[in-house]
Symmetry: C2
Subunit: 134 residues, 2 copies
Amino acid sequence: MESPVCTEAAGADLPFDVFARACPSRETLEHVTGRWGSLTVGALREGPCRFNELRRRVDGVSEKMLSQTLHALERDGIVHREAQPTNPPRVDYELTTLGREVADRLLALIHFLEGNMDQVMASRGAYDAERGGR
Amino acid sequence: MESPVCTEAAGADLPFDVFARACPSRETLEHVTGRWGSLTVGALREGPCRFNELRRRVDGVSEKMLSQTLHALERDGIVHREAQPTNPPRVDYELTTLGREVADRLLALIHFLEGNMDQVMASRGAYDAERGGR
DNA sequence: CGGTATCCCGGCCGATACTG
DNA sequence: CAGTATCGGCCGGGATACCG
């Protein structure tokens, strides 16, 4: 009934293949793994959070980019936005069920990288010593 | 002896904290999760691969960006480059041990997203119906 | 085949100002 | 507090040409 989307490019048996150029899953992957997306999702895994609190958790993000990132994640169903019409306004962001599962997988990657940065730094040193010295 | 790098910003008990602006782990995360980085690492998990074969696996990547991406990943110790001085030249790229562990965590995320794109698409539809219609 | 060099455009992103 | 609006720089990234 449903027409599959990305089966043409890779001989895939799944309807969505991120390796195919035109697949919508690639956009979602970019939202989730993007420069600010990954940090935003990761920060929200600690619990619901207001806008400016989130800005503080994600060190270095601007208002504009955080707002933009949150809209994309909300549209994809990763983040839920709950606004209270009080004054001053209070808006809480939290992960959806889907978002929590995404965050867990993302944090597994992040924590693994953090725990192995010594190896990465060593590799960078060796690479630069060979390439940079010449 | 070693001076920790990112402990100032977040009251962390780990030397590397990706949520801190100046932490080197953030760069590595961006290399691995970047637009082409994630797809390149994911594609290499299927096995060693030559340059142009890799270009075909990662649908849509240009020579320049693939080259640039591979250099960053090689420097970080995620990818190993093996060149044979034959004619015509033959160069094989493959994941390092570190890279394979990164790839597994990345693919867990990718496959989860691919398997839940129906939910994402539904959320997008609902979001656009509410926002776009007004 | 496996790249590098160069050009150049769109849009990512930060800074600032303003609104409810 | 929680954003939106606008401007502008700079760089990601595609196209093309060229090299070993």
